[in-house]
């Protein structure tokens, strides 16, 4: 193999104990994701898809198995080391946006940089740039409740982009948006992908997953299917700039 994968997991398992019973959320999953891939992870609820996403996002650690992120073994890292990886290498986009309600867009985008230890000037500069990138330069000082759903998700995407992470991990990013706004957001992801970003999209909607190059289908804690998308859905290239 010529390129080193961004994500390399081998035989990952995750077990939960619920009362007396043990639940195998993941029963030995292995996969690679390379730089600048656009991958969708699909699966019905209870398939282990969320658990996989949490582990990929370094929010959780596997019960057993190996997880290498950029060739670094993260499967046995402690909380603070994982926090550092999340801060520097992973950009999260959530279904419910997860913005801080009392802070304006600019501060929300700055937040990862604060935890990353950037100087105030660098933070402002980068946050401005990220907000410009998602087309919200004129909404910087609005609080989340003064923004539409689509705009909120754009702020969240700007927050994910601002540290120039190795991967962007989007969990049902269009789940709380109407179809049209959802399409716009998908267009934005496409642009980010074409600019060289690695994107992992978690969804249960087939038509959303079809935006990706590759779909990994998860069922009962196993990878059921891992295939390239032949007829990739392409949106208008300008979609990302539309508001």
């Amino acid at each position: 193999m010529s390129t080193i994968p961004v994500i390399n997991i081998k035989n990952i398992t995750k077990m939960y104990t619920m009362g007396d019973t043990e639940v195998h959320a993941l029963a030995g999953v292995s996969l690679h994701i390379n730089k600048n891939e656009y991958v969708a992870i699909m699966g019905p609820s209870g398939s282990g898809k969320s658990t996989l996403m949490n582990i990929l996002g370094c929010l959780d650690t596997p019960t057993s198995g190996l997880y290498e992120f950029n060739s670094v073994n993260v499967s046995e890292m402690n909380d603070n080391e994982l926090a550092k990886i999340r801060n520097k290498e992973i950009g999260f986009v959530f279904q419910t946006f997860n913005l801080l309600a009392r802070s304006d867009a600019l501060h929300n985008v700055e937040l990862p940089l604060i935890y990353g230890g950037y100087s105030s000037r660098d933070r402002k500069e980068r946050a401005h740039e990220a907000l410009r990138r998602v087309g919200l330069e004129d909404r910087m000082h609005h609080k989340p409740n003064e923004l539409s759903g689509g705009q909120r998700q754009r702020v969240a995407i700007a927050r994910a982009l601002v540290t120039h992470p190795s991967i962007i991990l989007a969990d049902e990013p269009t789940g709380n948006l109407d179809t049209k706004t959802g399409e716009e957001i998908m267009g934005l992801f496409e642009e980010l992908h074409s600019e060289g970003n690695t994107i992992i999209l978690v969804t249960h909607e087939e038509y959303i997953a079809e935006h990706a190059d590759r779909i990994i289908r998860v069922r009962d804690g196993n990878v059921e299917k891992d295939e390239q998308v032949r007829n990739r859905k392409r949106l208008n290239d300008n979609a990302g700039v539309l508001v």
Partner: protein, 416 residues
Amino acid sequence: MRAFSYNIAFYLAELREGLSIAFHAIRANKMRSILTTLGIVIGIVSVTLMGTAIEGLNRAFNESVGKLGADVLFVQKFPWQGDEDWATLRNRPDIRFEHARAVERNATLASNITTVAGARQPIRYGNKIVESIVVVGTDDEFDDTQNLSLALGRFMSAAEAGGGRPVTVLGSQIAENLFPSENPLGKTVKIGNYSYRVIGVIDKQGNLLGMESLDNRAYVPINRFFREFKSFRGGMDIWVKVADRTQVEDAKEELRGILRKARHLAPKAKDNFAINQQEIIVQLFNAIGGVVAGVGLFITGLSLFVGGIGIMNIMFVSVTERTKEIGIRKAIGAPRRTILMQFLMESAALCLLGGILGIAIAFPLSLIIDTVLPTAMPLSVVVIAILISIVVGIVSGFLPAYRASRLDPVDALRYE
């Protein structure tokens, strides 16, 4: 160097973020913050007032005991402090003129030596009467030993003292009571059954240890005193003012030697007299005062403790309410320490607010205390109160903050 400045910048950014979060959180829950802070306010008010009162008590004491003079040694029959048996003390021979004369002859380190004896008597002028004053028999050196200043007239002269002339110097309170609208100088008053001519009035002096008014005294020559008010066998005190303050201990030793000789004590016999000094009272007071202060501060400290529990309680609520926010912050890379700091700062800020409010309330109250005890809230109490409130905030915020910092990001994000 680069890494160092990078770290400083990082901590500063983190600190500013923490402060702004704390500020927003307190403002967002105004009512709750005020009610929670009330416990701290009450705690700080009671602790600062207690501190102020103790300070006032100390000052009042020092001012009062200062009237005795740090450089005056009191040769008396009984010690001011000690655990000697009362029966043995009672059988000690009195202090007499001959002892005073021996001191006068031999003391090299003394600047003034005076003999003092006292008795309670009524004093009369015309139809005015003061039932119970302290008549002090003494000599012409007394005013120098005590640094008395006179409002009117003069103190008794050596001739008057030696000759036992019927002259008296009045305390300011007696003069006020007997001569509300007259000049007392030259007037004749009756002390007990005997007539005395007023030759001076002493400036207002105040109380000695809050008990006996120094202004309710009349001074007469000691010879006459023993003739008219008290049998000689009552004995007297010898007050010795030391010339050089740094030689008080040496003077005490010298005095002891002179007295032992004058009282014919065998080399191994115990002293049968006491040389008292202000320091004994100071030590006694410090021992008692320390206990009083400790108990007082402990009891008022309890209210602060209760306030701290209130803060802890509300911080637990705050952490639970903001579980989702904690999840978001953790997801985007906030380490545990940052979350911990954030909540510690919030509770510290809450308590600091309480501390400042508490001082703002306690200050005017301390002015009321000032009317009884000579005190103003000392800056040290203010500073300590502020520090204590911050410490209370950090201590009571620690458990909730620690819990927040340990939250699992996945669970926290899922929390609604």
